[in-house]
Symmetry: C2
Subunit: 230 residues, 2 copies
DNA sequence: ACTATATAGTGTAATGATAACACTATATAG
DNA sequence: CTATATAGTGTTATCATTACACTATATAGT
């Protein structure tokens, strides 16, 4: 047992799998590493935990620094601790998964990241460290969560059409859904509220805009989400 | 950022919330601390991560050392990182939750733990560190998981009666379930296999013994558990 | 102005799942 | 041999899910 309360050889980092939905595509935020190891390779945004930070605060700071991202849906995913996952030292990373509702954040580079970009979630990117493993687990978790929790709204803009959210589910679950049944089910939950505005960006008949019913969401949170969205 | 690849002031531990089901009661394994801090208080079994161990290997070692527990159902729960959760130093713990199928393991004490005992899961124990927080999260996770995953069998002996498993669910979800409907639903999943043996320990009519259908379980794992047990 | 077109939006019937409900069967204890 | 506690069983009503095809409407092109 480690009884040395001064120092440890084990270092702690945080990393995040940040999803967004843009242009009818599910995307993941990656940053290009500017330093060794894995210099110039793409990796998840993240970095070392500081002495005075919780894991949650650290990942928020990293996302702010690396991608100018603030106030997003963020949950712990898993802590990865394989012995040799970092060639420099013994490093344990706690991975988060995050959802943001558009890709309009001004992604900026910092010391570590010379570049940050959105990648299609199912592209064959080969990432630094064990980050492919982390992404795989995040996608699994996202799917599992979306089935029973109405967190899909986190990925959508404030006002959205029913077609948009249906498309989002179809992409993530990789299956087509009946339009009438999806609408019925979604409207019955009362999780979305109708507006009298319409989305006129489409080329044909404009679709009605809705927004997310947070009160209803909080009710469901208490009851434990006894419904299935898809 | 921490660029010192020699040492960190942040230490890593692992802790486990081990559940079992015994005598129609859901119980949690706790150990009494033999050393400061929180000497003589009850705490979750766990300890420091060693340099050459993953988190998973460390918690298995700790459970073996502290409670002579091996080969159980074990999943990561969450990493807890509040700054002052350990008065000695900055310590991050990765908590696991575990299920074992009886309480007959010979619990033994080691250097850290002078005593280890099973406590009713809903008793008002006041634990060392932030371990009450960890237990609360584990119970929530257990409930959420039991709803959609047939992990309840991990808590039962190899051969069990349908009444036993029903009782288990009733205790964990704290609600009564219709006997006929529960049986129908459970048998339809084909997750249990009938034997021609009967449980004669009861005082009245013996109940048929069943065992868990692992093949079916593995099938479901692939498909993603599209059913609800309770 | 009219037409073509792409997408929005709507209802009903069949099927399957869940929930509600009460009695019989049987081994043991006395 | 009787009383008793627990095991074990089916049917109906309700609710949820699925399958399925047409009308509505704003825009673009003529």
């Amino acid at each position: 047992m480690n009884n040395n309360f001064e120092y440890s050889k084990i270092l702690n980092t945080v990393d995040a799998v940040v999803f967004t939905y843009d242009n009818e595509e599910l995307k993941i935020l990656l940053v290009k590493r500017e330093i060794e190891p894995f210099k110039n390779q793409w990796a998840l945004p993240g970095g070392f935990l500081r002495d005075n930070e919780t894991l949650e605060i650290a990942i928020k700071r990293e996302l702010k620094e690396k991608a100018n991202i603030e106030s997003i849906f963020l949950e712990q995913l898993h802590s990865f601790s394989s012995i040799n996952r970092d060639p420099r030292a013994r490093v344990i990373t706690t991975a988060f998964y995050a959802l943001i509702n558009n890709s309009n954040y001004k992604i900026k580079a910092d010391a570590d990241a010379i570049d940050a970009k959105w990648f299609l979630f199912n592209s064959n990117f080969k990432l630094a460290f064990d980050h492919n493993l982390i992404v795989d687990m995040a996608i699994k978790r996202l799917k599992k969560n979306l089935e029973y929790r109405p967190i899909g709204f986190e990925l959508l803009p404030k006002y959205f059409t029913i077609s948009q959210i249906q498309k989002l589910y179809e992409i993530i679950f990789d299956k087509e859904v009946d339009k009438r049944n999806f609408r019925k089910k979604l409207l019955k939950t009362e999780l979305i509220i109708e507006t009298d505005k319409f989305d006129k960006t489409g080329v044909k008949r404009p679709a009605r805009l809705y927004f997310f019913n947070e009160d209803k969401y909080n009710e469901f949170k208490k009851e434990g989400f006894k419904f299935k969205i898809i």
